[in-house]
Symmetry: C2
DNA sequence: GTCTATAGTTGGATAGAC
DNA sequence: GTCTATCCAACTATAGAC
């Protein structure tokens, strides 16, 4: 059929090299979903930016929702590295700060527009099975980040995450350079989970 | 036409008493928008819950977006009281804490599901003129809440707001009773803007 | 792997009667 | 103030050729 559900799979050329179309779709879809929100985003626009037609998308993904789910799988995967590392560390303030630093780096680099994407698609994520893996990772990270196992602790952990996301998304409202905002957010977040 | 754009206006009976249909639509629409998100919410479902037909909605509001804008106007109005009071107060930590307490009360009472609504509709709000008044109020409140005029200060102010919203919306992930969560959020928020 | 053409569905909005 | 009937636009998704 041409559809692959597993992470990292995809159509291959005769030389064994994976075609990059699936990844290009991935990238552009993330872009459009971030700008418009999942529901307002159309496959027409995604196809146009890719310079292909709508039906071509269906060769790589079996539905619009499948594209979204695929993005979520990638996001979940990106967090697994940090989670795995966190499991090997003692539950100290230093570890928590280090987790925040790693997350901040992800947001500054490969994830780029992730925060905007996540906020724009809060509604769509709620009833999406593919998003559950990602939400699960976030919950796990919150556990590692909380300074104490209480409501206070859980709130602080979630706020620390929110601080990082905020610096990434609210450039217009917070002012300052990207790095200045990221550093300030990291400061505030670290203070919270100390 | 039967359409009224001003806040608090609406069709009236011969005795001068405002009909409650407009307000009933208002309430149910807020409910459905919160659950589904604006884009996934259909006028069909709103009408069904109200036991009326879709066209009847158009007697009270001129479009789906008009209903959303109307809700945002109400939300903005609810914040004006707090803002007016804040203007009369000195910019002290005590004032900031008091603002948070007032907001917490609003979330516990009349606003109810506002937070869920706001999160579910982040995407829809971005390109909506009616939402700008509401966003403006939020920005004003942030100014009153910030402990210092710096990036750090602005982040802390926004996080304080986020804490209140979080306690309101994330009951499943935070645990505890409604009042316990609200109090904990207030504690953490107050500490942030001290 | 991508195309043209089209099926099938949904949902916002209007016309006009009562 | 609410109804029935209907229109229209937009979108997802599929069929089948190349």
């Amino acid at each position: 059929m041409g559809h692959d559900d597993g992470v990292g799979t995809g159509a291959r050329h005769h030389d064994g090299r994976r075609t990059d179309t699936r990844q290009r779709i991935h990238r552009i879809a993330l872009e459009v979903f971030s700008e418009r929100g999942y529901d307002r985003a159309t496959l027409r626009e995604i196809a146009e930016r890719l310079q292909i037609t709508r039906p071509a998308l269906y060769y790589h993904f079996k539905s619009k929702e499948d594209i979204l789910a695929s993005i979520h799988r990638d996001l979940a995967l990106s967090l697994d590295g940090i989670i795995a590392w966190a499991r090997t560390q003692p539950a100290t303030a230093a570890t928590r700060t280090q987790i925040l630093t790693e997350l901040s780096s992800l947001l500054a680099g490969p994830w780029g527009q992730f925060t905007q994407f996540a906020q724009a698609n809060e509604a769509a994520m709620r009833n999406l099975t593919g998003a559950s893996e990602f939400i699960e990772r976030t919950a796990t990270l919150t556990e590692f980040l909380r300074p104490s196992d209480s409501i206070h602790g859980r709130i602080k952990a979630r706020l620390a995450l929110a601080a990082l996301f905020m610096a990434d998304a609210r450039h217009d409202q917070l002012g300052g350079s990207d790095t200045a905002r990221a550093q300030a957010a990291l400061d505030v977040a670290a203070e919270l989970i100390r």
